[in-house]
């Protein structure tokens, strides 16, 4: 039962990642691309959690947590770079 539900969720998240990729490639400004990249990170985190539910394994928690942390750090670094033209002043 949970395998079917998690499969449906993974399909929906895959569609969401395709839409985010479209914005990443198209996005008129670099800020749009940063937002799309942040969305891709969040979607990858959700996809890993759904994969762990489908396979009934707890191995993917840490990977999803690391992806969430990397997403926040990279978005913060990009925003800082766009704001100041430099990451470490």
């Amino acid at each position: 039962m949970i395998a079917t539900a998690a499969g449906i969720a993974m399909l929906l998240i895959g569609l969401a990642m395709a839409l985010s990729c479209w914005r990443l490639l198209r996005g008129p400004d670099v800020v749009d691309r940063v937002i799309a990249l942040d969305t891709l990170y969040a979607n990858a985190c959700a996809l890993l959690l759904a994969l762990g539910l489908r396979d009934a394994t707890a191995l993917h928690f840490e990977a999803a947590l690391v992806i969430a942390m990397l997403g926040f750090l990279s978005t913060a670094a990009f925003a800082k770079f766009l704001l100041r033209g430099d990451i470490i002043e």
């Binding site: 449906i8 400004d29 800020v31 969305t39 959690l49 947590l65 969430a68 926040f72 925003a79 766009l82």
Partner: protein, 107 residues
């Protein structure tokens, strides 16, 4: 109790997938940067949170004891997404990107 938790996990995981899809749809369809921030900032966070809660419910039901590791992801995403969205919005303001103002407040 276990059956209730399992059904809850199934409903939550599908809802989370739908919320992720809606967030990305907002990212594609909204007209400018400041409105586009709303989709990923709020709805995708809801989706990740729903799927993390589904993971907690499912592993609590299957192991018979509360499994709260996935709550870490929920707490972390809930804490960091507002910060990163705020930083990106400030960068967009700094770059002078066009946004829409409310009616009656035109420049």
């Amino acid at each position: 109790m276990n059956v209730v938790l399992e059904w809850l996990a199934c409903v939550l995981v599908v809802l989370g997938g739908l919320a992720c899809l809606l967030g990305s749809l907002g990212l594609v369809r909204f007209p400018d940067v400041f409105t586009r921030l709303h989709g990923p900032g709020k709805v995708t966070t809801l989706g990740v949170g729903c799927i993390a809660l589904a993971t907690v419910a499912w592993f609590s039901a299957s192991e018979g004891a509360p499994a709260v590791q996935a709550l870490l992801i929920l707490v972390f995403v809930g804490m960091t997404t507002p910060v990163s969205v705020h930083l990106v919005a400030r960068a967009a303001l700094h770059r002078g990107l066009p946004g829409r103002r409310p009616p009656g407040e035109e420049r």
